[in-house]
Homo-oligomer: 593 residues x 2
Amino acid sequence: MRTSIATVSLSGSLTEKLTAASRAGFEGVEIFENDLLASPLPPREIRARCADLGLSIDLYQPVRDIEAVPADEFARNLRRARHKFALMRELGADTVLVCSSVSPAAIDDDALAAEQLGHLATLAQDFGIRVAYEALAWGRYVSTYDHAWRIVEAAGHPALGTCLDSFHILSRGSDPKGIEDIPGEKIFFLQLADAPLLAMDVLQWSRHYRCFPGQGGFDVAGLVRHVLRTGYDGPLSLEVFNDVFRQAEAGPTAVDAHRSLLVLQEAVGAGELPPPVVPTGIAFAELVTPDAEPVSALLGALGFARTARHRSKPVDLWERGEARILLNTGPAVRRDGTGLAAIGLESPDPRAAARRAEALLAPVLPRRRAPEDVPLAAVAAPDGTELFFCATGRDPEHPDWRADFAETPDEPGTPAARIDHLALVQPWHQYDEATLFHRSVLGLRAQESVDVADPYGLLRSRAVTNADGSVRIALGVGAAPADDTLHAQHIALAVEDVVAAARAFRAAGGRLLPIPANYHDDLAARYEFADGELDTYRDLGILYDRDAGGVFRHCYTRTVGRVFFELVQRDPGYRGYGAQNAPVRLAAQHAGR
Amino acid sequence: MRTSIATVSLSGSLTEKLTAASRAGFEGVEIFENDLLASPLPPREIRARCADLGLSIDLYQPVRDIEAVPADEFARNLRRARHKFALMRELGADTVLVCSSVSPAAIDDDALAAEQLGHLATLAQDFGIRVAYEALAWGRYVSTYDHAWRIVEAAGHPALGTCLDSFHILSRGSDPKGIEDIPGEKIFFLQLADAPLLAMDVLQWSRHYRCFPGQGGFDVAGLVRHVLRTGYDGPLSLEVFNDVFRQAEAGPTAVDAHRSLLVLQEAVGAGELPPPVVPTGIAFAELVTPDAEPVSALLGALGFARTARHRSKPVDLWERGEARILLNTGPAVRRDGTGLAAIGLESPDPRAAARRAEALLAPVLPRRRAPEDVPLAAVAAPDGTELFFCATGRDPEHPDWRADFAETPDEPGTPAARIDHLALVQPWHQYDEATLFHRSVLGLRAQESVDVADPYGLLRSRAVTNADGSVRIALGVGAAPADDTLHAQHIALAVEDVVAAARAFRAAGGRLLPIPANYHDDLAARYEFADGELDTYRDLGILYDRDAGGVFRHCYTRTVGRVFFELVQRDPGYRGYGAQNAPVRLAAQHAGR
């Protein structure tokens, strides 16, 4: 299906918006009137610019407060509309959005609304224009899609149809099934937006909190299925008012937007995406650092051993049981110091996984970093983390990334450990986008988002996982762009016995994050422990959580650069990540700086 | 009355919070449990720290999910409470907040709740502690203050009273008059918070959007009046959960917080503030610049003449009619280039105005900048703008600031103009605080806040004015801390004829901000104009707005540094500032960069 986006959904000047929409793969745009008014380009030049960019102008919007008014007011409204229709002819736009009146002058009279909309459509027809009438969720008298359709039907004018908007329909809790009663050729346009499920004033909700389909809580795909059953063959068009997108760069937002429509089309059976290939484990995590010594010392104290070295690059493989860390000290590493740069995901079919990622607009990374390297399928996540699709020692058809490495005499460290989860820090405006990326590209499931109080701001965190929990990635974000309170990038190692692991770490010279005694005093108030158990936790800085499925014990290393390690002992049934302990951990990290 | 603040209202570590509260003048604190748990200080040291800072610990909070549960669960809850009471004894806190249960285990049985709260109070009494039971607005069975009071009354225990919280009462729309039915000695505590009037889920509203009294939409003062009539003599204590305050620096937030309680006490007749002295005009605006030439050229083109020069400093006075601009090129000017640094406000009693400002915690500026200067009363606004209280050539008792200036041969510029309004840019987290400052310190009235779409983010703006409109200050703020889209700092000159003023400016070599033709095409669609009128506006970049009271015509100069000028022709009845044209102006400013 054709895809389109309203210019109001993207930041910048009209030219910047159009360029971003085109580059992201959209075929059309809705021109939002305010964007045109603020543009130095005359309409004919906007038309030419769109043509150059391969964009059709699918809609001009909105014309407001037209219908169901006294005759003298309607005459003034027609005069205004005539100006707009002349403008649209210059622009080469053939459909105009008229949204239901919110004017105090409006009269509660459907027959009058139909009559005046018919007059408007007659005028539009003279200009070769179609009028798409839409119910705003907060329209004065017309606020539901079926009501708007009854008026359109009563007018019975060939140049008058309806425009459906998923936000206006779903925010009111209307049943979208009734859409199927509208003939497809009378649905002139379909605008799509999702939104988080908030109990708030619908106008404010609409103006500030809309998001792209799949990022919120609405069943947008369900609505689109009803629309497609009517025979609708116009574009799927995004209209999203969002305070954050208004500030974010237009380019990445447009890519996220287009991805959301690709996923939506797949959900309604109208897409042609390669199917998802869900990762089955974490092959490795890659740390980059300009200074190998502190990270090597940390890995050594954590029981990792350096087992192999890359044949051509300054990259070492460290192993402890199934947990593998690549330590990259090459000059090409990020300038912002020590951090988590890449994740190797075990994939049942690495090439197919990469094909899906590419189809979903993930930037594909060069398959070989150097000519002699094993070709690996890899893409970049929205936060810049490189995702490698691996088939570690498993599938003779797929190259093993370890072939690039020459073994050293060392044996893997002990005792056994594996990566329980990885925590990544997202750019401020990329939280919902990152979730949609990991869900759609990797086929992971998103858990609930949780708020975490840091002493200097509120953070949010949400995990994406595969079905058996062998891949768990926690996506974290600060409360505002300037937030420097982020200590969230980390690697959590699952161990059999966290007390033993913490003791071994300390005995090997590792420094654990000290946890305030007040925290353990509170544990004593909340739970009963075996003799000495709490003293051990207190001594080692072990935190404790419990849910219906079991217990979670965890402790932290000191931070090196922007990354730290967590040691976790997870009962099989425990689902979380100790989020309720995170404020204490964050405060301790701030105190230790 | 005593003032107190909950530690959750401020950002930082517990030590930082306590220090900020003490410095701002609070006499007590509520210790929020999570702040204690995350603190490395043991309770006895927290107690000592508070004592050193002159702070009492008025409340420990909260203990949750205690009452109306099966017996075995209540036994566990009592065990937990005993731990907390022992902790409070260490801390030296004698009142604990128990909020109504939200537990799924709770039973809808007031008699059981009263019985168990009675047991709890008996235990508390052993530790010298009083229990203050509060209804959370989203409590499972107890969610209104009168219901909580009925349970407390039924329990009839001397160590059990109620805690009132203005948010929980007013967010539910409960009538606070019923508070007067509670004996004052049974109101153990009073927590105060305001909030903007949002139609949203009350839990989310409470956790993220509370603000200080006078910053939101609740009648907090009305509620406090009811409480005082009961004979309550405990502290007025602020408990504010706010995402922005969590990120803002604790020091200024604490000052804003304490100011809100001073204003509140005045509103309920319990304060001792000097009365407000409302300014009656704008004496001058002071620009600072490292480079006098561009600003002088701009002032000259705007019809200003340099009429006087400061006797000892590199400050010139420029005048056009009643509009006066000081141009300061001294080395002490701000490093961030050309900007609006100070405002002279005409005051009926400058010294009294300064006394009120000081009582409301505004930093007082040195009365003389140099020994030979006329002593002037001045304070700093929260955004750093210096406010001078002046009695220009009016009152022999008060020195005239112009005495510092030696006249030059030039006559004031022509034709007459005056300052219509000044627009100031507020730090991101200081929008509501700035409004409260200008309302309370200067006695100005706040108009509605409006959202303005900038191409790169959403701005907000709100004007504060005196009754006759001779003082108008627009306070603007970006949508996020990193926002660099702010072109809002400006000086608007009221002229008799904006067309003539714009033409004269251009003829004198001034550069007007060009406005896109699309904007004027839209004006043609919306309004009818006399022949040629619109062409004139188009030519000069004049914008047009109309409300029920009249018409507003305005245009803009190019920006110099961080400041620009606006020329406005305002019909006397027009109340606004052309906000609906602001997106077009902002886009034009971005395009011209």
